[in-house]
Symmetry: C2
Subunit: 151 residues, 2 copies
Amino acid sequence: MTRWPIPLPMQRALALAREAAEAGEVPIGAVVVKDGTVIGEGRNAPRETHDPTAHAEIAAIRAAAKELGNERLTGCELFVTLEPCAMCAGAIVHARLARVTYAAPDPKGGAVAHGARVFDHPQALHKPEVVAGIGEGEAAALLRDFFRERR
Amino acid sequence: MTRWPIPLPMQRALALAREAAEAGEVPIGAVVVKDGTVIGEGRNAPRETHDPTAHAEIAAIRAAAKELGNERLTGCELFVTLEPCAMCAGAIVHARLARVTYAAPDPKGGAVAHGARVFDHPQALHKPEVVAGIGEGEAAALLRDFFRERR
């Protein structure tokens, strides 16, 4: 069986998710890429930082916007290991990210292909291209192992 | 005609919205209240801070969670001058805020009573009580004046 290799930005997002797990946080990682270069990255950290908004995507978007000195990440793309929630999908809209690639779907908390489907309403003032399933096996295994160890 | 007075936390949120307008930001303000005391406040600031997530609600929630040293704002309530967008509604869910009171509705970008209706899906793992319209006239006038001056 031949498998496509996981793109480097998603490999980096998976490494960040592993870092989150080691810190006792739900293992989710994200990076923002511009012209093939990572310009912002983040991992889940709400418990350590006492910040309910400290999701991987929010951290990566804030870092990238700071790096560019611009609240809009036009032409940039986000790689994240789990389907974004409503908060993160909303942040993706505000940042005007051109594309979002996520690894594992999240039927319980996702808001892209599930639930609020944030990009599918006219109130989303920007609609990114969405690619799902790249690195899904690895991302889902990280989450499964994390929650199994905690039960 | 008798009018109910605007509750003090919403008056503070309106003052924060005025501060945003003076700084050239869309005039939206928010405060988080616990047991009658403001424990976090914020105003819209994405342009100045180059941060697409720097909405009033996100700033107020982050400040309150830092103040309490807890990512969950259980039993706290949020007052904000405009109906929250998907990002902020998602943050409200993550923060477990007990109640959200907003002033003006936002048919174009709101995600509570419009569009994604973030609280109305099972993927929202917490559903706050929602009160709308308190201070609506004042909040809407601030936004109207702001956009009129910029046209």
